[in-house]
């Protein structure tokens, strides 16, 4: 949880305090931003075009005495009406065209893009690096990416719809259960940029944050190597403790005995627990394993059946580590 607190106090990099948009940090941003600023200034112009006459008329033609008649009853003028119908058409056609061009660019993935797999689940992101055999996850996960190289995200959801939004990159894409969606970016600035979930997904929707860390190539390679080494050789108990936050078990299961969305892990190992229906079951290695991989198989009495499966996200040694961790919580 502390990581989230820290995350919330971080700043979204902004170009300057007077800027409308956050700092542009991707190739897409520059092509989106000029259109955004064009829209702002043209809309200010259009706003004045309709509002100034109205204000001026209401001063100039203000009724001075009771019962005063209008100066004229003019109620049509074909030329003016044609102008205010057709000119906006041209303006809007322009917006449509440039918006569409930018949109196509946002979704046309370069052939040399590096692929990352993104899994959304309540309430954290997991990013897998298929080429490098590592993954990062958890609320506030740091997603390392190289500077100046196109990166493609192939995304799917474990449960409900989420949406992957990086304001500094100007990209956003819904992440759906049961199908893949993708988006890409090429980072142009070194730094840390927040990722928000922008499709409402429940209680901790607003904590479903991650950080994209853009690094120069050599630093990025070092980061990869360090990541790979991190989990190797960690004793099972420590690995389990790490996975507990990394896989966001902590979003639903506490360690101090207080029930949250799921039962607490404290002191359950080796004891009987009451299930929905008549049955009870002993919390042992087999039960924990099943609960992680097939969460709906046995539901502890009094809790909603909402846990997603972690099948395919945890290795055998990860599962063993989690069991060891739960076992240690007397």
């Amino acid at each position: 949880m502390d990581s989230v607190k820290e995350l919330l106090s971080m700043r979204l990099p902004v170009a300057s305090t007077m800027s409308w948009l956050p700092e542009a940090a991707s190739t897409a941003a520059s092509s989106v931003d000029w259109l955004f600023y064009f829209l702002i200034w043209s809309c200010v112009g259009l706003f004045l075009l309709v509002v100034v006459p109205v204000i001026w008329f209401s001063i100039r033609y203000r009724r001075k005495i009771e019962g005063q008649k209008a100066l004229s009853q003019v109620d049509h003028n074909v030329k003016i009406e044609a102008a205010w119908t057709l000119l906006p058409c041209i303006y809007l056609a322009f917006l449509f065209y440039w918006g569409f061009i930018g949109f196509v660019d946002l979704y046309t993935i370069p052939f040399n893009a590096k692929t990352l797999r993104v899994i959304g689940q309540k309430w954290n992101w997991t990013v897998q690096y298929p080429d490098d055999d590592i993954s990062v996850s958890g609320q506030g996960a740091v997603i390392g990416v190289p500077l100046g190289q196109p990166v493609q995200l192939i995304m799917s959801s474990q449960d409900v719809i989420h949406s992957f939004f990086v304001p500094n990159f100007r990209i956003k894409q819904d992440v759906l259960p049961g199908r893949y969606s993708s988006i890409w970016f090429q980072a142009t600035k070194i730094g840390e940029f927040p990722v928000f979930c922008t499709e409402y997904c429940g209680d901790e929707h607003s904590k479903m944050l991650a950080i994209i860390k853009v690094m120069p190539q050599d630093e990025y390679q070092e980061w990869l190597t360090k990541k790979k080494g991190e989990d190797v050789g960690l004793p099972p108990l420590e690995l389990g403790q790490k996975l507990y936050t990394q896989k966001a078990c902590n979003a639903c299961h506490t360690l101090d005995g207080t029930p949250k969305i799921g039962p607490s892990f404290k002191g359950i190992y080796g004891h009987m627990t009451q299930l929905e229906g008549m049955a009870a079951v002993k919390v042992d290695d087999g039960y924990i394993r099943e609960s992680i991989l097939e969460p709906q198989a046995k539901i502890v009495k009094g809790y909603p059946p909402v846990m997603p499966t972690f099948k395919g996200q945890l290795s055998e040694s990860d599962i063993n580590a989690l069991i060891e961790f739960i076992k240690s919580l007397k």
Binding site: V4, L8, M10, R11, L12, L21, P22, S31, V32, F36, L39, C43, F47, V50, V51, P53, V54, F57, S58, Y61, R62, R63, Q68, A70, L71, Q73, D75, H76, N77, E81, W84, L92, L95, F96, G99, F100, I101, G102, F103, D105, L106, I161, F165, P167, R170, K172, Q173, D174, P177, G178, P194, F196, C197, T198, Y200, G202, D203, H205, S206, K207
Partner: protein, 536 residues
């Protein structure tokens, strides 16, 4: 002529007792009952909004927990959409004014009219009962699969929306039949006041789009209760299909909300400029154009949902197309004021407020219709600000304008003009303070429906919260202004605004139970201010 009949009792006093209201078939009384109910739910929804804004005063927990916050914004949205803005103008002002403007004794089906009110009441009660089953936290959009998996009274709330849909359909059918069959002799289609055109266009959308919502909601209930796979991928369904179905209704519903507002504004601008409306036919046809095109733009809610780029392109183009008739109306209203005799009485000030806020709401819509820009802005506070500028700044300002305009007709009382002017000023200031900063934080990347937020957004949230208190006070002050007039207001003359439509020229304030002593005959257009005297 009107003065001779003043001794006859008005519709307010002709029958007495509570049952004379509860079982009334009088469109005017039903309109008033709707007005009171809608305002009640408006203040309830508004209270939820204030609580939301208080929670957002600081990041993290301020007054409620995350779950309750999610329930609050769901209730705020559902109440404001289904119980306030959709029925708002058509069911209250439309019911009261439409038959009067047509020169009719009542709507075509008075019993169906009363039934639609009771269906509304039942729907509202069902919606509120969901609070006891367990307040829902899905957002008013009920997106699947979240709405299928979350606990709480989702089925109850969805069923309430289903029931309320019938109320909307009955009102729509009634108005269409009334406009077709009960126009006064001589009132051709192009002699109808533009308020009628707007309400008529709204009614078309109501009866064509609402059944789609009903079907969608039933499918959602079937899936939740019987686990038939329709939208939930775990059961083999398609979650995006729900979004298509939902917005197929809910985008046209946006026009169910705004068209009546535009209809009111057309009346206000002409009357308070004492000038024939500029481009009558353009405004009338643009209402119908909006009604038709509104069915073809739903996909602009889904540019980042995973629909194909081609579909995104088509919806973007159609979205810009629907902007044209709205723009045309704005220009026409502005031109109507040219060389007029303009009075800045309270209803006209509401119209000016509408003009200012709706212009911003409409123009920011251009940002969201532009594909590449929408990708960045979608589901941020920019969108929240945009639709509040349209729904509150547009529809609700028009609604208030309409209430202040027809208040003397409805109650026979004039309100205090100074208080009326202050109502408008407070609301416009409070509104801009609340929502303009939301454009700024949205563009900066602040997502909507967020309980926590990055510290850097706090200042914007705090300005917005202060604004919301001012806005709430402004609305409260408006209602006080009206209520005070009931006791202390001066008696209203039949036509205090020197308007030219039947409800002002042909009957007393308030009207008698059967509206008119003689069948009014229409011999001229609705905005011939120099011929008012000759009309009877």
């Amino acid at each position: 002529m009107v003065a001779n009949h003043l001794e006859e009792e008005s519709y307010l006093t002709s029958k007495k007792g509570i049952s004379s209201w509860l079982f009334t078939l009088d469109h005017k009384r039903i309109g008033l009952m709707y007005l009171v109910s809608v305002m009640f739910f408006f203040f309830m929804g508004g209270l939820f909004a204030i609580l939301l804004r208080m929670e957002l005063w600081s990041a993290g927990e301020t007054i409620v927990k995350a779950k309750q916050y999610n329930q609050l914004f769901t209730l705020h949205g559902a109440i404001m959409v289904f119980l306030v803005i959709i029925p708002g103008i058509p069911a209250s002002l439309g019911n009261f004014v439409l038959p009067l403007q047509l020169g009719a004794k009542d709507v075509a089906f008075p019993r169906i009219n009363l039934m639609s009110y009771y269906i509304y009441v039942v729907g509202a009660l069902i919606a509120l009962s969901s609070l006891f089953v367990g307040a829902i936290d899905t957002g008013w959009t009920f997106y699947t699969p979240y709405s299928i998996t979350t606990d709480g009274g989702v089925v109850v709330m969805v069923f309430a929306a289903f029931v309320l849909g019938f109320s909307s359909i009955f009102t729509g059918v009634n108005f269409i039949a009334t406009v077709h069959k009960l126009r006064a002799p001589g009132m051709t289609w192009f002699r109808m006041p533009l308020f009628i055109w707007g309400i008529y266009a709204t009614a078309i959308i109501q009866i064509m789009a609402t059944p789609v919502l009903a079907i969608t909601l039933v499918l959602l209930i079937i899936e939740r209760v019987f686990h038939v796979g329709i939208f939930d991928p775990q059961l083999g369904g398609d979650p995006v299909l729900f979004q298509h179905f939902f917005w197929f209704y809910s985008h046209p519903a946006v026009y169910i909300m705004i068209l009546p507002g535009m209809a009111v504004i057309s009346e206000l601008i002409t009357t308070f400029s004492q000038k024939r409306i500029f481009g009558y036919k353009a405004i009338a046809y643009s209402s119908i154009a909006i009604a038709v095109i509104s069915f073809l733009v739903w996909g602009h809610h889904m540019f980042v949902s995973g629909q194909s780029e081609l579909v995104g392109m088509i919806f973007s183009a159609l979205t810009f197309l629907v902007a044209i008739p709205s723009g045309v109306k704005m220009f026409n209203w502005a031109a109507t004021m040219y060389q007029g005799s303009i009075s800045l009485a309270t209803p006209m000030l509401w119209a000016m407020g509408f003009f200012l806020l709706f212009a911003i709401g409409g123009l920011t819509g251009c940002f969201l219709g532009t594909l590449s820009i929408d990708v960045h802005l979608h589901d941020t506070y920019f969108v929240v600000a945009h639709f509040h500028y349209v729904m509150v700044g547009g529809t609700f300002m028009a609604f208030m304008g309409g209430i202040f305009y027809w208040w003397p007709k409805m109650t026979g009382k004039m309100y205090n003009e100074t208080m009326g002017v202050w109502s408008v000023i407070l609301v416009v200031l409070g509104f801009n303070l609340t929502f303009f900063v939301q454009f700024l934080m949205g563009a900066q990347g602040m997502p909507r429906r967020y309980y926590h937020y990055l510290d850097q957004f706090q200042i914007y949230h705090q300005i917005s919260t202060v604004g919301s208190f001012l806005l709430g006070f402004g609305f409260l002050f408006s209602v006080i202004t009206l209520l005070v007039s009931l006791k202390h207001g001066k008696k209203a003359p039949p036509n205090p605004w020197h308007a030219a439509t039947f409800e002002w020229t042909e009957t007393a304030s308030p009207p008698i139970e059967h509206n008119f002593h003689h069948q009014p005959i229409c011999t001229r257009g609705p905005y011939e201010y120099d011929q008012i005297a000759k009309s009877v």
